[in-house]
Amino acid sequence: MKYITKIEDKEYIIEIDNDDQITINDQPFAINFEQLSDGVISLLINNQSHEAIVEEGDGNIWDVLLSGELYAVEVQDERAYRLSQARGSAGGAKGEVVIKSPMPGLILNVLVKPDQEVAKGDKVIILESMKMENELRAPRDGIIKRVSAAVGDSVEKDQALLIIGDPEMEHDEAAEVDDE
């Protein structure tokens, strides 16, 4: 069985040959996989020992906790991969980033307007929660496509607050938006 697995921008082609061997980018690894009764996973890769907790997130995303770090891993089998390739990178229009509220809270300030250019790291929204003012920042350069939160709104966890689009995509994106 062959899978295409992504972390951040890295992509691995992982072939599960049988219970104790996998092939990654054509290189074989001896594996020994065990799941304990409490859900913890023990994996030996060429006798290198790794202990992890793996839980399913949204879509094909798996959360992997490994020596302190939490990795978001996207796993697709060949079929699913080809499909997603066909309709552009998974989820929404290409290069579009939706900024969601990480927790319930109150919008104290919205620092950007639609069509405004933002650089990675720019503050875009101030959200009050847990009695603290939290700054939401742009995850990358882009253009504000939509702002769906206003000062004074109290928002839920994961509520979409605004959308940042690719600069170069601006026109067709804008079009798309108008369509809706």
Binding site: T5, Y12, I14, I22, D38, S67, G68, Y71, P104, N134
Partner: protein, 506 residues
């Protein structure tokens, strides 16, 4: 001595007016002294360990603290109903509310903490500064509160920049703003006033000279009701984010025995200035030349008290209870010795890779580090939901070593052993800090974390392994899913439980 409105007498049942890890800490100290415990809980905390570990437990209202843990009337009612003779406030909530201490006194209940007057004086930045100033404690130059914005702007000229805008009622960095340039002052005052008003219902602010490259160093004191006051040395708490401590250690890298005794003596003087009784902490700001200035006194048990316990061998929580029972301290200043090194990492539900935004969610799995030199104080559990109702601290991980190096290496080991799933935590932040050259060489100040420390340069070490793990689990799931009978069970997010359950049926 004048410690009016303070009850100290033997008691055998105590109500813990708090939740989370500090409630657990107090319950354990009580049980270790043979004192029965009464827990209180809000809707959110029915299953919390402090409810399960206490001898008795009473529901006091909805999750919002203002309707439960902050309801003095309900707490006193439960104390009466359960026959609790004493109340321990822990930290936060009502811990530094003089009116609560007074209410306990009026209800003839022992308040495990200082007399109301000491809380009142130290609770107000201004009266605190005056009180300790009179006792010869050095303070940072600044204005008194209540000035008009015009007056503040004028005063700023005298104090000079950089300076701090601070809320009179403030604490934990809320309503506090550093200002480096004259032109930023007005905005900063506005923001501080807004935040303080929201957090404390009082927007009053004042100005204070900003000590640059300052270190936050605090002195732990113990005072009994017989006039004995001692100190347990210092804690280094310079590693902070937005004035929230994240890592504390004992002793401090920059404090030698001579300085320790000097600061300790000043701390004791500050405590005596307000006829202090119980455990307390005097916070100082120390500049590069090792001049130290009084910041504030915390009239309660401190989050970071364990590092002092490990290095001095003194159980501060137990001493606090003995003192409240009217006992003389067993220790004199001469008995207090420090040996070894302890470091505490506060494990918070927040995302270190995304501007430390709080992370809410339900914890599915926890496995705590164990073994030599590792202590974990925690109040969370599998199934616990991190909500905005309470603070985001999940646990305190404390490691001890004969040397600072040993403590750091042990902390690395413990952080790696720590497993918590369901919310994002700042464990990677702590791991990154334990690897940082600046930290290892003790070369940091209160601005280090925010200004000269970044997660950007952290390499995710195990991406390939994570990719393999996720793929194998996904593969296993799709294999399993195809075998499962009942349609309901096909819900993929449960395959793990199913496989466990299937295993059990064998």
């Amino acid at each position: 001595m004048n410690t009016e409105n303070l009850h100290t007498r033997k008691f055998d049942k105590l109500l813990v007016a708090n939740r989370g890890e500090i409630a657990m800490r107090i319950i354990r100290a009580c049980h270790e002294l043979g004192i029965a415990t009464v827990a209180v809980y809000s809707d959110a905390d029915r299953n919390a360990p402090h409810v399960r570990f206490a001898n008795e437990a009473y529901h006091i209202g909805p999750s919002s603290a203002s309707e439960s843990y902050l309801r003095i009337d309900k707490l006193l009612e439960v104390a009466k109903k359960s026959g609790a003779e004493a109340i321990h406030p822990g930290y936060g909530f009502l811990a530094e509310r003089a009116d609560f201490a007074q209410a306990c006194y009026d209800a003839n209940i022992v308040f495990v903490g200082p007399p109301p007057n000491a809380i009142r004086v130290m609770g107000d930045k201004q009266t605190a500064r005056e009180a300790v100033k009179a006792a010869g404690v050095p303070i940072v130059p600044g204005t008194e509160p209540g000035l008009s914005n015009e007056e503040l702007l004028a005063a700023a000229e005298e104090i000079g920049f950089p300076l701090l805008v601070k809320a009179t009622a403030g604490g934990g960095g809320k309503g506090m703003r550093p200002v480096h340039r004259r032109e930023d002052l007005e905005d900063a005052i506005a923001a501080a006033q807004r935040e303080a008003a929201a957090a404390f219902g009082d927007g009053t602010v004042y100005l204070e000279k900003l000590i640059t490259h300052g270190r936050h160093i605090e002195i732990q004191v113990l005072a009994d009701s017989h006039g004995n006051v001692i100190h347990l040395g210092e804690r280094e708490c310079s590693l902070q984010r937005r004035h929230q401590k994240v890592i504390e250690e004992c002793p401090s890298f920059v404090v030698d025995e001579e300085l320790r005794q000097r600061m300790g003596a000043v701390g004791v003087a500050a405590a005596k200035a307000v006829n202090y009784v119980s455990a307390g902490t005097i916070e100082f700001l120390m500049d590069k030349q090792k001049n130290f200035y009084f910041l504030e006194m915390n009239t309660r048990l401190q989050v970071e008290h364990p590092v002092t316990e490990l290095v001095t061998g003194v159980d501060i929580a137990q001493e606090m209870l003995r003192i409240a029972r009217g006992r003389k301290m067993r220790l004199t200043q001469e008995d207090v010795t420090m040996s070894g090194w302890a470091i505490e990492c506060r494990v918070n539900a927040e995302d270190p890779y995304n501007n430390y935004l709080p992370s809410t969610g339900t914890i599915s799995t926890i496995r705590l580090p164990t073994g030599p030199g590792v202590r974990v104080d925690t109040g969370v559990y599998p199934g616990y939901t991190v909500t905005p109702y309470y603070d985001s601290m999940i646990s305190k991980l404390i490691c001890y070593g004969q040397t600072r190096g040993e403590a750091v290496l042990r902390m690395r080991r413990a952080l790696e052993e720590y497993r918590i799933m369901g919310v994002k935590t700042n464990i990677p932040f702590h791991q990154h800090m334990m690897d940082s050259h600046r930290f290892l060489t003790g070369n940091f100040d209160t601005h280090f974390v925010e200004e000269r420390f970044s997660m950007e340069d952290r390499e995710p070490a195990h991406e390939l392994e994570a990719a393999i793990l996720a793929t194998l689990v996904a593969h296993g799931q799709s294999q399993k899913a195809s075998q499962i009978v009942a349609p309901g069970e096909r819900d993929t997010s449960n395959w793990k439980w199913l496989s466990r359950w299937e295993r059990l049926r064998r």
